[in-house]
């Protein structure tokens, strides 16, 4: 079980790997599309990499609800519980 801080930093690494964005720019209140400029294809890659990293399943229909980094961290945290 990872803490929210650990999930955030793990997610930031995945985002950095996919998009080149600095990990510190990946903050809880940032919107994936509006702030981080992540398109749907990159988002799906990030989701699949997050599933593998955190050992969770993020259903496709759930992805559209993950608007901010915080949404994703909270979902992953809940799914791990």
């Amino acid at each position: 079980m990872a803490s929210n801080e650990e999930i955030l930093s793990g997610l930031a690494e995945i985002v950095n790997e996919e998009t080149g964005l600095a990990p510190e720019s990946v903050e809880m209140d940032k919107s994936f599309t509006d702030d981080l400029d992540i398109d749907s294809i990159s988002m799906m890659t990030i989701v699949v990499n997050a599933e593998e990293k955190f050992g969770v399943r993020i259903p496709d229909e759930e992805v559209k609800n993950l608007k901010t980094v915080g949404d994703a961290v909270n979902f992953i945290s809940g799914a791990q519980a």
Binding site: E18, G20, M44, T45, V48
Partner: protein
Amino acid sequence: MPRKVVITGLGATTPIGGDVPTMWANSLKGVSGARTIEADWVQRYELPVTFAAQITTPASEVLTRVEAKRMDPSTQFAVVASREAWRDSGIEEVDKDRLAVAFATGIGGVWTLLDAWDTLREKGPRRVLPMTVPMLMPNGPAAAVSLDLGARAGAHTPVSACASGTEALHVGLDLIRSGKADVVMCGGAEAAIHPMPIAAFAAMQALSRRNDEPELASRPYDTDRNGFVMGEGAGALVIEAEEHALARGARIYAELAGTSVTADAYHITAPDPEGLGATRALKAALFDARAQAEDVVHVNAHATSTPVGDKPEYTALKAALGSHVHDVAVSATKSQTGHLLGASGAVEAVMTVLAIHERKAPVTINLDNQDPEIPLDVVTAPRDLPQGDIVALSNSFGFGGHNAVIVVRNV
């Protein structure tokens, strides 16, 4: 008179140099780009051919990590070469609605396709990357170059096996002459040094198996030639309406004076032994360029080093150029680069343009005993081309019976 079209920018990433100056210097020296493949898959699959001509400068040294991640290697090579050609052209401002792309490939994203297949089988559909389709599609290189340059006058992908790169120049010339574009980024890219294509080309007995001496394996016109050597890379050429180039004071390398494409309609892989389709392509290209056989001083031949392929090209050259064929300096640069398949025509076009511009013919290596049935004047040591008005040809032929020829003239 159709619009005159000139060549103003050149780019390349090849097995004998990661940019045009390095490639050109090596092509005059005569070096082999063929090496034993270091990857573990050569042993794992017990491939009958263990060498190839791989690019000298990995695309990861030129592109950012994120750029490279979203591109198949064929597209990476296309972007590397086209960026060099664009910088070289010196174009600062251009109407993007009048800028087109004609970027060819023979096979497309074969690494991506087969990696995704492995992922599907080993890890299931969830792990197949969402970028798989845009990375494997054969128009990927053209699309990526269009995106990179902001070119909006169409992004075309001629696919005609090993004639593809030359056909890209044919398409580009048409786009400018017909008034649909003023500038076209033309080229070809290929990245097929993967175990499956090697196994497949080997299965059809097309590849040399000189595994102990890779650098001696590509030997067009030699009596001991026994197949081609797989190469990879890309070539790119900025072609431009002459008035557009003159208006911006561009450095002009040469004129793209004419092109032609024909089909053999003879056999799916074997060349017509009489070279009839190739002869028609040569004659049509010269006619298109309003050039005479006697104007031709240099040919960058297709000459892949296969036993069956090299001779029909000679037959066709003889039929098209008559007795003048023996006064033409012929270079078989695949002896150095290997066969870059759909990129070969583009890389050889870059060399042909430089041959005209610098008036020097690149060399053919490994010609120890010239096949007596192919009595061409093959350039084996650097040779100056004549002064005055000169014309050079570059030929490409592809499985499927595709014949493509370009005519390059000095300006």
